[in-house]
């Protein structure tokens, strides 16, 4: 009953004309961000964060969250029509999405992906509504040892999930941790790696690094692979198809797929470090393994599109739970969202929902509305997005550079940060090229200072004994959960690899 009353209160805050406008703008921008190849929600959020200055916190957070989950909707349009995923979480959607379009079923595929995204996103928000207060309650007993373990768990799962290149992932995370130590040590007041520069006293700010790595770095990489030299000729022309809407069989054959994808996606999304990409690949693999016709996967099977779509949207909702209730981001995108919260003077964590009920429930309520808006936009604005796909990348690229630079400057009016963003862009290109993980670096840059502070407090409490991590029941539970997760990683990786292999075999 409390939850229902809180949700109604959140809805009353979200349904104001100005907040609805912010929500719609966020949803639309999120979809556009998703449509642009190589330009994921992390980059979109980081670049557009300065745009929210001047708004009230509820409207700003609602808009940023809408950009975050809206990108999941938009990323699939290119997967279906171009065989190019808009971002990594929609890679699995190309496996059957593009074959469906080639078979003359692009219209039904686009509608079904919108519906699947809506179902996944909405189931995710329902689960957030129920579970977030419970998580918040449990996490109130957490102290520094638990926070250190949670931050470590997030980093460990992310690094191990990277798989074959785990060493590069580990090195990326360590570089992020190292950058996180720059600035004045809050406990002793001693400068670390500041080299006498006043600009570095406050540390290396996270936003320029994120914009550089995800925005410029990806842009340079897109140039490297020649995206700017490609035209729009390879877009599947679906406007002349006889049937735009899905038929009865599409709905019937995918109804349980949506349930499975939503639940699996949400669970994977809650795990720090796992994220929407892993969730979508796992859902694809699971769907193929339970299907009576697995040989059709990769050749245009509707369930093969619906499964990853429900999963990646449910996962993006699930990732909000550790962010809101623990203050621990599980992915690069939620790390940017955390930065947005901090920018507004809000500190997500165990007390966040109790101390900021309007904001927390306003955000959750807005996610229901946002998913509804995205469903409508996804279906009725398809021609608009097809038009956007026809804008050559060579025209978009310089515009992205300008927005990255001016967006970075507007945060703190700092030229040093703007130049840092350009430097991060160059480093990000080489990281992307040589298999490093920019996401691990950004996540470590955010989690590093939190982890260091928690570890030092823990060691003070325990007088230097590491036994505190096994003496406290909550710590022991987190340790056990970490061990279980790390044990499950090979299974996750096997399912992800199986999804890729099945798609290749089918296609």
């Amino acid at each position: 009953m409390d939850i229902f009353a809180d949700l109604v209160m959140g809805l009353s805050l979200a349904i104001t004309p100005i907040n609805l406008l912010y929500l719609l703008v966020g949803a639309m921008v999120g979809m556009i961000v998703g449509v642009i190849p190589g330009f994921g929600p992390s980059a979109g959020l980081a670049i557009l964060l300065p745009v929210t200055f001047g708004m009230d916190p509820i409207g700003a957070i609602m808009m940023l969250a809408a950009i975050y989950y809206g990108a999941m909707y938009g990323g699939t349009i290119t997967s279906i029509l171009l065989n190019t995923p808009g971002e990594s979480a929609t890679v699995a959607s190309t496996f059957d999405g593009f074959p469906l379009a080639k078979n003359g079923r692009a219209g039904p595929a686009l509608v079904m992906q919108a519906v699947a995204s809506f179902v996944g996103g909405t189931v995710g928000v329902v689960l957030i509504t129920i579970l977030a207060p419970m998580f918040s309650q449990v996490s109130r007993s957490f102290g520094p040892p638990e926070y250190f373990l949670l931050a470590s768990m997030g980093m460990l799962t992310l690094i191990v999930m990277i798989g074959a290149n785990w060493k590069l992932g580990c090195l990326s995370a360590l570089v992020g941790f190292a950058l996180g130590t720059v600035g004045v040590d809050l406990e002793t007041g001693q400068g670390r790696y500041t080299f006498g520069s006043a600009e570095l006293i406050g540390g290396i700010y996270f936003i320029p690094v994120a914009i550089g790595l995800f925005g410029l770095g990806e842009l340079f990489y897109a140039f490297y692979i020649g995206l700017h030299r490609q035209g729009a000729g390879s877009i599947v022309q679906f406007q002349k198809e006889k049937r735009f809407w899905p038929d009865r069989m599409d709905w019937i054959s995918t109804r349980w797929t949506m349930v499975r994808g939503s639940i699996l996606g949400f669970v994977v999304g809650v795990i720090p470090g796992a994220g929407a990409t892993i969730a979508s690949l796992m859902a694809y693999s699971l769907e193929r393994s339970v299907s009576k016709t697995p040989e059709k996967f990769g050749q245009g099977e509707m369930a093969g599109l619906v499964a990853p779509e429900t999963a990646n949207n449910a996962a993006s909702s699930g990732a909000m739970i550790p962010l809101l209730t623990l203050g621990i981001p599980g992915s690069a995108s939620t790390a940017v969202l955390l930065a947005a919260f901090l920018l507004w003077g809000l500190r997500p964590g165990p007390l966040f929902m109790a101390q900021n009920p309007e904001l927390a429930w306003g955000l959750i309520a807005s996610m229901y509305l946002g998913n509804m808006a995205l469903l409508a936009i996804s279906i009725f604005a398809i021609p608009l997005f097809v038009l956007l796909l026809k804008v050559p990348y060579r025209l978009l690229a310089p515009a992205i550079v300008v927005i990255c630079a001016l967006g970075t400057f507007s945060v703190h009016a700092s030229f040093i940060e703007t130049w840092l963003m350009f430097a991060a862009g160059i480093v990000g290109f080489f990281m992307r090229l040589y298999g490093f993980s920019p996401a691990a670096l950004v996540l470590a840059l955010v989690l590093g200072p939190l982890a260091e502070e928690a570890l030092r407090q823990t060691m003070t409490i325990s007088r230097g004994s590491f036994m505190i991590f096994v003496d406290r029941p909550a710590s022991l539970w987190i340790l056990a959960l970490t061990v279980v997760l790390l044990g499950l990683v090979p299974l996750f990786q096997k399912l992800s690899r199986a999804a890729g292999a099945a798609a290749k075999a089918g296609g």
Partner: protein, 148 residues
Amino acid sequence: MRIAFLVAVLAGAVFYTYVAFADLGFMTRTGRLGPGFFPRIIGLAMVAIAIWIIADHLRGRDRGAATPGRWSDVASLTGLALGYAVLLWLLGGFLASVVFLLAALSMLNPGRPLQNGALALVLPLAVYLLFDVLLNASMPPGLVPFPI
């Protein structure tokens, strides 16, 4: 090229670790963990893993097979972006953006001066209106004073 990048990372890691050991204390005078505790652990781990990755690379185990690509295009865009970074400081946000867009679009979209010119004016104007007028956020002012 990959080995050069890895060696650069290793050099950075060695320097980071050196500073952690040379300038930052492991413990404070009161016996608590000092400012060098975390950096020393991170630094040593970075050096160890970087050496491991380089050793793998040299033994041919992990060459990180990067696909062949368009280095010249990346170099051109990087050069333009770095030039833009300097122009922002000199000319300010609006003018620097116009100059950068004109240069970048002339290179990427040759033979269409009208389209390029229009884009180079409209985009910075839109960003100026959004940031400076609508959101009251800062645009780079520039050393040379211009009205916008």
